[in-house]
Structures are given as structure tokens and as C-alpha cells.
């Protein structure tokens, strides 16, 4: 039995602390270490410095001067939040147990420049007798035009159901002339729903967009192009689709708009989207808080970076005097294009 004592106990004692030596020390959770880590993570991984007019080094000097280890957590959160606010990116957040920092400038823009009057749509277009299919609310708005309201890409879409819906309207007297697909104030969600919505429509395998990920620590160290193509579906639904957008369209809604512009039968009308074409990832800070930031960038088929907003094919801003009379001039313009 003496061999056991000789061999087992020292081995256990040795190994218990081994990984601490091998993994190295953890950073301390002080205010200065947290701020510095946050700044560095964005400096090395944030993917959209090319379209964000911000001097990141100057921001470190200016805001870093306000950081000291005796400051409260709330004070540190404010300084770190002002750092991330400089990017005006809806995919950038700072998350603590007591608050979540989002970019107020962007939120104000998305809200103030809303290009939809929900009451007008609910009463005069969707109507009280509207129908629901999955995440889509829909109704006939006359002249063979189907109106679909899709408020969030978090609501599921099934491509077979989209096809079913279109087929049902096509069977009606007069047939289906086209679809008004309204995604105004749609803040994004599950990007998979984008493909489910587009899948039934006629396409020819065209290039939709190109994505690049950050692969190095330099601000412009992007990896190789990853091109995203439409389905090759020449026998798909052959109807005109007008997509209604505004500044409240973000993330997956902007991706959808980007793709819709490349479909032959799609037309985008309304206001520029809010952007958000960089896919985000999470990370943790030394003091336990979390951050979120964009780590990829997306270029349109013609090479433009519409991170700050995808422009429509035609700008039509909502006329509030008309909505007061029950008329949404954006929907009316879309309907006019369909019936041309």
C-alpha cells in the first residue's frame, strides 16, 4: 500500500493546480481593465469601421481618461456605453445585470422616421377582417392586389404556406395582379425566414449579396468573399411584388430588402432601411458584462456597402395628411406599380 501513498497523492496535488499555471491568470475585473478589454475587442474584431466615421484611437484616449478603478459600475457602464454609441450600430450593445445599452441615435432615427401609420394600415388596408397565415397578416386590397403585413422576421414563415396563400388569391375572380409586401418597422429576427419568403418566387440563381468576415486584427482585414445566390427557380411564382420599407427595417429586414432588389419581379418602395447588414456575435468582459458587435460586412450585388441603410428603388415618404384620411400613399404607389 505504500506505493499508493507515494504515487497517487503527489500526482493528485500536482495536477489539481496544473491548469491554473497552464491557462495563465485571468484579467482583473477592474474598471480600467474592463474598458481597455472592450476597446481592444472592438478594435480587433469590429467589422464596419469602413462605413463608420469614427476615430477609434481618439475615442480610447478621450473616454479612457474618464475611467478610474474607484468609479461605480453605473459610471463605468455609461463611459463604455458612450464608446460603443460612437459606432451607431444596432447590432452593438453593452449588457450588464442592471441595464442594456443601445444606440439612442439609431433608435431615434428608426422611430422618428417611421414611414407607416399602423392605425391607417389596420383600419383601411388590412382591415378588421384581416387573415393570418403563420407570421403573415394579409387581406385583399382590391384590383387583384394582395396586401401582406410582416411585422417581424422573428415570426415564422413557411415557403409552402406562402405558395398556398398566393395560389388561393390567384384562384379568385380576376386573378392576382401582385403583392404588396409591407415590412416597414420590421426590426429583423431570424434570417432563415428571409429564404422561406423568397423561395416560392421566380428566380434564376442570380447573385444576391456578398459577405465578408473579419479574419485579422486590422480594421480592414476581411476574409474571402462568400457570395449568396438566389434559388434557381424559373417555374416559381410569377407575380409582381412591391416591398415597402422604412428606417425601421433592420438586420434581417435589410437583408431581405437587399435580396428583393435583385429579384426581377420585386420592387422596393418607401424609405431607406435602417441597415444592420453586419452579423453580430456576443462576447464577455472581464467584469462579467457582455457586449455584442458586428463581425461581418455585406456588400450588395453591385458592390455597395449599405450597412447604414439599403435605399429603395423609389423613395416615397408617408404623407400624414393622407393617412389622416385613411390613405397610405406608400401602399397606393406600390399598388400603382403593380397595376402598371
Amino acid at each position: 500500500m505504500k506505493y499508493i501513498k507515494i504515487l497517487v497523492l503527489p500526482v493528485m496535488l500536482l495536477m489539481t493546480g496544473c491548469e491554473k499555471l497552464l491557462m495563465g491568470p485571468e484579467p482583473d475585473g477592474s474598471a480600467s481593465a474592463t474598458f481597455e478589454y472592450l476597446w481592444q475587442q472592438f478594435d480587433e474584431e469590429y467589422s464596419l469601421f469602413d462605413v463608420k466615421a469614427v476615430d477609434w484611437d481618439s475615442a480610447r484616449a478621450a473616454l479612457g481618461a474618464e475611467v478610474h478603478d474607484d468609479m461605480s459600475a453605473e459610471e463605468l457602464f455609461d463611459v463604455c456605453g458612450r464608446l460603443t454609441d460612437l459606432l451607431h450600430d444596432g447590432h452593438v450593445n453593452l449588457i450588464s445585470g442592471f441595464d442594456v445599452r443601445h444606440d439612442a441615435w439609431l433608435y431615434r432615427m428608426m422611430t422618428e422616421k417611421s414611414n407607416i401609420d399602423p392605425d391607417c394600415v389596420a383600419l383601411h388596408y388590412l382591415g378588421p377582417d384581416y387573415h393570418t397565415l403563420g407570421g403573415l397578416c394579409h387581406n385583399d386590397i382590391g384590383d387583384g392586389v394582395l396586401y401582406i403585413r410582416y411585422a417581424s422576421f422573428s415570426n415564422s414563415i413557411d415557403s409552402n404556406r406562402v405558395k398556398y396563400l398566393v395560389d388561393q388569391y390567384a384562384k379568385r375572380a380576376g386573378g392576382l395582379k401582385g403583392i404588396v409586401f409591407d415590412i416597414r418597422q420590421n426590426g429583423g429576427g431570424n434570417i432563415a425566414n428571409l429564404w422561406n419568403m423568397l423561395a416560392p418566387f421566380r428566380s434564376h440563381g442570380q447573385l444576391l449579396y456578398t459577405t465578408q468576415s473579419k479574419v485579422g486584427k486590422g480594421h480592414f482585414d476581411y476574409g474571402k468573399d462568400h457570395q449568396v445566390w438566389a434559388y434557381d427557380n424559373p417555374m416559381g411564382l410569377d407575380v409582381r411584388v412591391a416591398v415597402l420599407t422604412d428606417r425601421g427595417c433592420y438586420s434581417a429586414a435589410s437583408f431581405f430588402t437587399l435580396c428583393a432588389k435583385e429579384y426581377d419581379n420585386f420592387w422596393v418602395v418607401g424609405d431607406t432601411t435602417g441597415g444592420g447588414l453586419g452579423l453580430p456575435r456576443n462576447g464577455q468582459l472581464p467584469n462579467g458584462w457582455y457586449y455584442r458587435m458586428s463581425v461581418s460586412r455585406t456588400l450588395s450585388a453591385d458592390g455597395n456597402n449599405w450597412e447604414n441603410g439599403v435605399p429603395p428603388d423609389e423613395v416615397v415618404l408617408l404623407d400624414r395628411t393622407l393617412t389622416a384620411q385613411g390613405v397610405d400613399n406608400v401602399i397606393e404607389r406600390a399598388k400603382q406599380w403593380i397595376l402598371e
Partner: protein, 281 residues
């Protein structure tokens, strides 16, 4: 999970049954549960280490013929948390799962060694997942690592005998040690996320295949096991109490290093055996 373990058990059982049917009588099927602690640190997503208890379960088949062949499948899981939990920070928990499989061969005769030496090769996979849920926020982070492992084991460094006079059973005891190296592997960080879009008030769900970090490199991984083995002289059943330490890291082979370590105390029991009496120690 229960269904998976049941299928695994049936698979090993059928291997044992086939071996018996073709006239290879010297084999045993064993089961090895264990408890311990684990730690991992993924610098790609957090500078903090996650610690916590772990459980492990292993099933193996050992065939003692002219060569010794051992195949085992192991699964581990743990519940982890970060040391940072002060104030109003988010609760942070994570988990991991690990599966290992391999075969070993007895090389003592070939090397003319006095002590039995087994060497083996196998593979292991490790995946960790961190989940944070508070104030409606959810964040998932996932890391995976697979590695080829090679090991050498001396199942009988020293041995001694004892007897249970009441039941008239003789026991053979031995002290065993195993050293494992994880010389090459593949690291995967798929960068999957599900979280709230705090600006637009919608959930973001995304998978970033373009951000997949997948590297096949040499990883400086190591594991060591020491244990006490007792073999029942009458039945041939083997019972083993062992302690295992494992450390695996990507080192500087990836952009942001990943490292994981675990300690576990395990009890191996024989489920069934067809050990030749002549093979008894």
C-alpha cells in the same frame, strides 16, 4: 440521452456476444461512472474561466487474446459558472459535453517488458456551451474541439494479493497508470448566436458559417490516470478506482486560445466477463 446510452450498451453487448460466439472467450464489458470538476477558458468569447462540477460515464469492451484490444466510449458533461458573480452582473452558466472512443493493444511481448504495456489511439470531441439568461437576454456561445489521442498504459505497475477468508475469495490488486497525449486535432468555433436586438426589439437568430474558425493543428493536450485495480480471483471481475486529469488546449494555433481541463474520480466495474482463469494475475 437515456435512449442513446441504451443503444450504446446494446452495441457493446452485441460486440461481446459476437466475440463469444466466434470462440474468443476472454473478454469483459465494463462500466465506469465518475465525478469531478472541470474548467474551460475560451479567449474567443470571454477572458474568464468557467468552473464547475462534472460527471462522466464510460463503457468499454476489453478483449484479451494474443493482443489486447480495448474499445471504450466515454461521455462527460458539466455545469459551469464563472468566478465573476458579484453585484448585478448577469448570472453566467455554461456546460460542456465530451465523448471519447479508442482502441488499445498490448505491446509488452513485442517490447520484452516485464510490466504489461498497452498503447492505444482514439479520438475525442469536446464542446462547450455558455448560456446567459436574465432580463430577457439570451446569449449562446459554442466551441468545439476534436482531437486524436494516443496513450500508453501500465495496468500493473505493482501488484499484491489479498484474500477474503469469510467467502474464500482471493483478490489480485495492482496499481495502474496511463498517460495520454492529444497530438493533433481540429478546433471549431461556429459562432452561433441567439440574442435580442435591443435596438429594434426583435430576436436575432443567426449562424455565422462564414465566421467558422476551423483549424486542424497540433494541440498540446495531455491526460494522466492513476488507479487501483482489484480482480476477483474466482469470477475474474475487475473493479478499478481511478483518478484522471486532462488538459487540452489549442495553444497559439488559433486566433484566440481555448483550453479545458478536468479532474475526475472514477469507479470501474465489470458488467460481464469471460476472462480465462489463466489470465488472472
Amino acid at each position: 440521452m437515456r435512449f442513446g446510452m441504451k443503444k450504446l450498451f446494446l452495441l457493446l453487448w452485441s460486440v461481446a456476444a459476437v466475440s463469444a460466439a466466434v470462440g474468443q472467450p476472454s473478454w469483459r464489458l465494463y462500466f465506469e461512472p465518475g465525478l469531478g470538476a472541470s474548467v474551460f477558458r475560451d479567449m474567443g468569447t470571454s477572458p474568464l474561466s468557467y468552473h464547475g462540477p462534472m460527471g462522466t460515464i464510460s463503457m468499454g469492451y476489453q478483449h484479451e487474446g494474443k493482443v489486447l484490444v480495448e474499445a471504450d466510449v466515454e461521455a462527460s458533461a458539466g455545469l459551469m459558472h464563472s468566478a465573476i458573480s458579484k453585484g448585478l452582473n448577469y448570472p453566467q452558466v455554461g456546460g460542456f459535453a465530451m465523448a471519447e472512443a479508442g482502441v488499445a493493444k498490448n505491446l509488452s511481448d513485442r517490447l520484452s517488458m516485464r510490466h504489461l504495456l498497452q498503447v492505444g489511439v482514439g479520438a475525442m470531441g469536446y464542446a462547450d456551451l455558455r448560456y446567459n439568461a436574465s432580463l430577457g437576454n439570451t446569449a449562446l456561445m459554442l466551441t468545439g474541439l476534436t482531437a486524436i489521442r494516443a496513450w500508453a498504459e501500465m495496468p500493473e505497475i505493482v501488484g499484491w494479493k489479498s484474500a477474503n477468508k469469510r467467502y474464500g475469495i482471493d483478490f489480485d490488486h495492482s496499481l495502474m497508470a496511463r498517460l495520454e497525449l492529444l497530438p493533433v486535432g481540429m478546433f471549431v468555433r461556429p459562432d452561433f448566436g441567439y440574442n435580442d436586438n435591443f435596438t429594434a426589439y426583435n430576436d436575432d437568430q443567426y449562424l455565422l458559417p462564414r465566421n467558422l474558425e476551423c483549424r486542424a493543428k497540433a494541440f498540446p493536450g495531455v491526460a494522466a490516470t492513476v488507479g487501483l485495480v482489484r480482480r476477483n480471483g474466482a469470477s475474474g471481475d475487475v473493479t478499478r478506482l481511478s483518478y484522471r486529469w486532462m488538459y487540452i488546449t489549442t495553444g497559439r494555433n488559433v486566433e484566440y486560445p481555448f483550453a479545458a481541463a478536468s479532474h475526475s474520480l472514477r469507479l470501474q466495474v465489470t458488467l460481464m466477463n469471460r476472462i480465462k482463469k489463466s489470465n488472472a494475475l
